[in-house]
Every structure is written in C-alpha cells, then in structure tokens.
Subunit: 333 residues, 2 copies
C-alpha cells in the first residue's frame, strides 16, 4: 500500500503505533501533540543537533534498505551528541515523502531508526510528515544533555596536544564502493564488515561520555566529513597547526582489502571518505594512558595519529614528506 492511499492521518496513526510502546517516565507528552514535552536532568546543559539526509545525495534507495536509512539518520545525530560528551535524549523526525512511497518501506525506516534508538534509550517524541516532489528528505533533530563541567567543544585544543581517534577509519567509504561495485573480488567477511560500517555505523556514545567524564579532553568532534576536514576544524578552532602522521592513521582492515580489489587508496578513504562516525579528540600527551583507559571503558580503542602545534595550516607527514592536508566532503563543491 502506498502512503497516498492511507492519507496523512492514517500515516500519523501508524507512525504513532510504530514509535509507541513503553515510553520512559521522562516523556510527559510524546508524538501527536503540537510539541513534545520531556523532562531533562536538573543542572545539565541541553544539547541540540540536527542532520538532513536527501535521497540521491546521502543515500541511494537501491543500495541501502529503508531500515538502514532510518538507522543511519539517527546514528549521525547521536554521533554529534557523543562528540559533545553528552547523553542523547529525544528525537523528532521530519520526513518529506513521495506520495508513492510504500507504507511498508516507511515502517522499515522506523524499525531501523528504533533499533538504534532503543540501544541508546532514545525516544521518538514527535515529527512532521509532508509530501515531497522528488525523493525522500529526512531531517532529524536530537536533544541530549551534559553536565557543564563535562561539555567538550571543538575549540580548546592547545599547542603540544596529541590527536587521536576512537577506531579504525575508511570502512564506510569502502562499504559504499562495494555497494556500488558488488562484483569486486573481496572476501565475504571483509565485504560484510565494510557494508555494515557504511550502512549501520555505531555512534560512539559510551566512549564520548567516558572521554568527557575524564575531564582531560581539550577538544572533540565526530568524523562525519572525513578525518582531514575534522582535524583542520579542531586546529582552526584552536588557532593551531595540525600534523597528521600517515603511518599512524588506523586504516580499517576491511577498507584495505576493498581498496586492494578496487585499485584505490584506503588511506585516502580514511582521510577524506567520511561517515566513519568515530570521535577525534585532542589532549595533552601526559593524559594519553588515562584517555586510552576511558576509551576502553567506552568500548573502543584510542589511536594517536597526529599533533597540534603553534602556527596554522594542516599537514600530512607521509614517509618523510610533509603534504598539505586536503580532502573532506563539501556538498556544494
């Protein structure tokens, strides 16, 4: 059945059913009213973030299932909350849908989104649906909270700081290449891992909280637009120069395998591919062990891959050469 057959009120009723079930005691008014009303812990800062996904640009319907798309839309927002050191709370979901959209596809979209929401105790508390003239457009806004003392920004890095990430990179780009070129000769384990990392990335929520709680992180961002771009942003926000050490960039093993088959450079994917949703953080060298422990408590591993210095500019130290650090995704370039 198409959504044009159930109409707007039929659609809203279904969405309420899909997102219903046990709501936390923190939800005073959920889906269906003019606005949601929720409780947030006293004495914390409210975090707000939003991400928009456009069919044909952020996802290709033939390559990702509706469930994957719903999952990833939420993952991108949770990753932003994680990058502030926060706890995600509630989500509102706005959708522009072609009238010919299948109700079942929309159901699968919500199931994928709710899979990840449940994992992080996040509740869908509202949204908006409207017709689209071409393709699906998804916009999520997510609230969260953080104790002010634990808030971590993108600015705050200091000269002498190390830069590290919370996991290997490049797998998301490898997964996309593999989805577009399924005939590539890649072992099934690596192929499945790469596809999973592209379609269902794990936002580093627990790690973000553990790192922030250490009080030792000077600056943090999530890697949505590629390591190179995010590292430049941290450096610029701190008025510093950044150097990444190519040999220390943790390239995901599945990315290496896919890159070999595709005759591409996995390091480039790690630097500029984006959508890995690991966290990138700056901290004093003396705190390296403490942060490795916090990272481990958050279920991942700290990979040191560069440093920040007095000055400006962004560089990649590669086999004795120093190259300008370019790359990263630009929607309008």
């Amino acid at each position: 059945m198409r959504i044009s057959e159930v109409g707007e009120s039929g659609l809203l009723q279904r969405i309420r059913e899909w997102c219903g079930g046990p709501q936390g005691a923190d939800v005073v008014v959920g889906i269906g009213d003019d606005a949601a009303a929720v409780r947030v812990p006293a004495g914390t800062l409210l975090l707000l973030t939003t991400d928009m996904l456009v069919e044909g640009i952020h996802f290709l319907p033939g390559l990702a299932t509706p469930g994957d798309i719903g999952y990833k839309a939420l993952a991108a927002n949770l990753s932003d909350i994680a990058a502030m050191g926060g706890t995600p709370g509630h989500v509102v979901v706005s959708l522009a849908l072609p009238p010919a959209t299948a109700v079942e596809d929309l159901h699968q979209f919500y199931l994928g989104l709710l899979d990840l929401a449940r994992e992080h105790a996040v509740t869908v508390v509202g949204g908006d649906v409207t017709a689209s003239r071409q393709g699906m457009v998804i916009s999520l806004a997510v609230s969260g909270w953080v104790a002010e003392a634990q808030l971590v920004r993108q600015e705050g890095a200091r000269a002498g700081d190390l830069l590290a990430v919370t996991g290997p990179l490049g797998a998301s780009a490898a997964g996309l290449v593999l989805l577009q070129r399924p005939a590539l000769a890649v072992g099934e384990a690596a192929a499945a891992a790469a596809r999973q990392r592209h379609l269902r990335p794990q936002p580093r929520v627990a790690a973000g909280m553990a790192l922030a709680a250490s009080g030792k992180v000077h600056a943090m961002k999530d890697i949505s637009d590629g390591l190179a771009k995010e590292a430049r942003l941290i450096a610029e926000a701190g008025g510093l120069e950044v150097v990444l050490w190519a040999e220390q960039v943790p390239v995901d093993s599945c990315a290496l395998e896919v890159a070999a088959a595709a005759n591409e450079d996995a390091l480039q994917w790690a630097l500029a591919g984006g959508e890995d949703y690991e966290l990138l953080l700056a901290f004093a060298p003396a705190d390296r062990d403490a942060l490795a422990a916090a990272c481990s408590a958050g279920g991942c591993r700290l990979h040191v891959l560069g440093e920040l210095r007095e000055g400006s500019g962004a560089w990649l130290q590669h086999g004795g050469k120093r190259l300008p650090l370019a790359g990263g995704f630009d929607h309008f370039a």
Copy 2:
C-alpha cells in the same frame, strides 16, 4: 553569487555571520560545533517541535520572498510552542538547497527568520546545509520550556467545555488566493492585510503563555491545518463530540472581501484553509471572562465558537442545520 561558488564551508561561515551577533547568556555553544549547548530554566519541561517546508508544496518561490519563507518557517514552529503554553528558546535550521541558489536569497531567508526570532528572543544555535536535487527543503526544530503546572495538551477537554480561538480566521487562505490571482478586485488595505497574514503570520506566543498561566485551559492546539481539523483533534483526544457554531466563527474581514471578489466562501477558508496560526482552546463556560482577560493580556481577543459534548463526531451548526464537520489539509489525500 550562487552557493555552489562559495562552497559548503563558505556558506557555513556566512550563516554563522548572519546568525551571529549578541548571543544570550543561555547559549553556551552556538552554531558551528557538532551540537549546540544551551541553558534551560531549572524545574521546567523541555518542549521540542519540528516542521518541514517543501518548495512547491508549502511555498511557491514566485509568490513568497525568501525572507517571507524564513519568517513563516519559524512562525509555524513558534506557534506549536505557543499551543503548549510554552516559551520558545532555541532553533536549529536544516536546509536542502539547489546548488544554483543565490547566496543573497539565502541571506534574505535568514533575515526573515531572524526578524521573528529576535521578536521572541529565540536564538539560532545550529543546523545543517546540504544539496537538494529539486527545490528547497526547510526543516526547523525549536526547543522551548514550560512549567509542568502550565503545560497545556491537546487532550484534556471535558464535556460542556466551550471552544474558542484567539483571533479571526480565513485571512491566510485569502492571502494565498490573492497571491495566486493578483488581478482580483480587492481594496489595497484588505489585500495587504491578507497577504501579510499568509506570508508573515504572528504566532500567538504571548497569548499562549497568558492562557496557560491562567490554569483554566483544558486543551489547546494551534490552527495550522484549519479550524475544522484542529477542533476534531481536540474532541477526539478528549473522547468527545464537537459542535462549531458557523455564525460565531470569526471570519477575518479581509477574507470576506477577498472571498467576495473571488466568488468563494470565506467561512470555508476559516474552517479548512489553515495556516492562520491562531490558538484553539477548550475551557469551562464559567472561566470565559478570565480567559478573555488572559487573551487580552496576550494581545488578542477570545472568540467563542463552539462546544464539546458527551459523544463523538464533529458538526457544524449552520442556520438551524447540523452538517458534518469536514475539511482540513491532508498532504497525501
């Protein structure tokens, strides 16, 4: 200059400049980081709402200026906060933009949005920009807060309650007709008023707060999809029957003038036109004077136009006849 010429980072820099200026002390992290971090008053509930506007469906570029579109996108969200009795706080703005969009048009969009934001002490704290394949898609999410004792929902109406609105209706629909048919023979004062009500509706934020503070409102919604539909929703949420009295529906005088020229029925516009963004509320007859006073304190006037009774169904009492109350906007019908 087109946005494809300034690129994503150039665009983000401009948006930061446009939305910058003095930020309230409540904004700890504003535009530019992974998420915004803001202070909300202790002991209140957080309100969250979102609205999506699609070019060609919610607005026609030739008929509304970019400034009008920005203004109205925020107005629709502030109206939702008002309908809960809340104070609006912060907004995140997600935009899908055709690469050929003029930077100046986008600037005008933000100027329109910021006009209204300033009026309500609302701050733009974040957002997302991405490319669109066809037309502009706008998604705003707005936070607000309300003391739990003052929260007003759409459910809560009781048998015997009166229904009232905070101002005359139908002007928004009249304004749209006039924009589509500019040659209609309508006096300039009425024409200007109708266009203004369609393009730059006033969300009833002060009235919503004053009404909620009275403690006497049983249920409230804003009129975004037409009086008939919102009245049905309040009745259904309360398990009640609703009767609207056609003769008491306050039809805007400019709507009457435009309808006469267009040979249309202004009452239908008032019932089903939508986008008037007045508030619709249910309350006990004994509290009518107190609520009229609250409404007046909020800068508008209370118009009683119907009642809620035991039972179910929705009716329009019109010249001695009782007609089924149909109408209201459905995006997929």
